[in-house]
Amino acid sequence: MKSRVNLAATSPTASSGPATGQVAQWLVQRAAQRTPSTLRERLAEEWQAELTARGGAVARLRFAMGCTWASLVMAHDPLAFGACPAAAAGRGSVSVLGAHDSSFFSRRTTVLFFIVCVHVAAIYGLASGFRQQASDKVSPPAIKAHVEDLPRILEVVLPPMIFTKPDVKVMDPPPLPKFELLPVIAPPATVTLGPTIPPSTGQSSDKAVTRVPGGPGKGFPSTREFYSSAAILAEESGVAAIRVCVDAAGRLTSDPIIATSSGYPRLDKDALALARAGSGHYRSTTENGAPISDCYAYRVRFELR
C-alpha cells in the first residue's frame, strides 16, 4: 500500500501527456490483473515502478504493451509462473529448458495478427467501397468550382477567337507510274510460214505451219511492283525491250537479256527483274496450236502519269 501511495506522486502522467500516461498506466494495471494470483500484486507494483522509470510517452506505451503481452504469456502457462518464490532447484532445469519459447510465440502471433488485420481491412474496404464514397464526396465540389471558374478565366485570359479561311495551296498529287506491257516486237502477231521453195525441183509443198509467238501470259506480275521508287523519284520513264527464251510450259529457259535499253540503267534492271519474276507465266509460242520452246522479245513501258 505504501508503494501505491507513492505511485500517485510519481505517476507517469506527471511528466508525459496525461492521456498517454493514463493509458499506459491503465494497460499495466490491466496486465497485472491477468497474471496468476500469487504474482498479481507484485507485478502491479514492479511494472508501475518500471513504467515510471521510462523516459518518454512512446517508451511507456511500448512498455505497457509489452506487459500486456507478458501477462498473456503467463496466463497461457500459469503452472510455470504460479510458484515463483519456491526455489525448486530440481524442477528448475525442466521448467527452464522445457518451457515454450515465449519470444517465438510472440513473433509468430504478432505476424498472424498483422496478417489478419490486413485482410480484415482489405475486405472491409472492398465491401464498403469507401474509395468510391470518398471520391464521390470530395471530387464534385472541386470539379464544380473549377468548371464554374473556367468561363470567367477564358473571358479574361483568352483573346477572342476569329476564324479565317486558311490559305492552303492544294498540291498536285505525286506522279503515278504507268505500266504497260507491249506486244512482242519481232515476230508479227501471227506468222504464217510459207511453203519452202525446193531449190531445183520447182514443185511447191502443200504443207503450211501456223506459228503464234508467245508473250506475257495470265498471272504475269504487274510492272507497278517493279517500278523502283528510286526511278520514280528521279522521274525516269521509258521503254525497254526484253528478250526471253521460254519453254512449252511458259518457264524461262535462260536468263532474260535487254534487247533495247530504255536509256536508264535503273529501268533496265527493273525490267529484267520483272521478266525473271514472270517465269512460269509466259505464254509459249505455238506452232499449229502446239506449244514449243522459243525465244522472243517484248517491251515493257515504265511511264509516269
Binding site: 501511495v5 507478458a70 509462473f81
Partner: protein, 92 residues
C-alpha cells in the same frame, strides 16, 4: 533454451553478484518487456534467480521501489554450464 533467455543470463553473468532491475536487464539484453518478464519469472520459479524489493523510501527518493533480481549460486553454476557449451557466447 531460447536466444532471449541466453541474453538475460548473459546480462547477469557480466557481474554475477550484481542485482539488476527489469529495466537494467532489458537495456543490457536489448529485450522487449513482453519477452523479458516471462523469462525472469520462469527462471526465478526454477530457482536460477532470487528477487527482492529495493530498500528505499519512495517518498524521499521520489520514485517507487523496484524489484531487483540476482543469480543464485545454483543459477550461476547452470548458466555457466550453458555458456561453456558455446565457444563464442551469444551472437549480437
Amino acid at each position: 533454451m531460447s536466444l532471449q533467455t541466453l541474453r538475460v543470463l548473459e546480462a547477469f553473468l557480466e557481474n554475477p553478484a550484481e542485482e539488476l532491475s527489469g529495466a537494467d536487464v532489458q537495456k543490457r539484453g536489448k529485450l522487449a518487456s513482453g519477452t523479458l518478464y516471462p523469462i525472469l519469472l520462469r527462471l526465478e520459479s526454477a530457482g536460477w534467480f532470487v528477487s527482492r524489493w529495493e530498500e528505499i523510501d519512495p517518498s524521499r527518493i521520489g520514485r517507487p521501489r523496484r524489484r531487483l533480481y540476482r543469480l543464485t549460486s545454483g543459477g550461476l553454476r547452470r548458466a555457466s554450464e550453458v555458456f561453456a557449451t558455446f565457444s563464442r557466447g551469444v551472437p549480437a
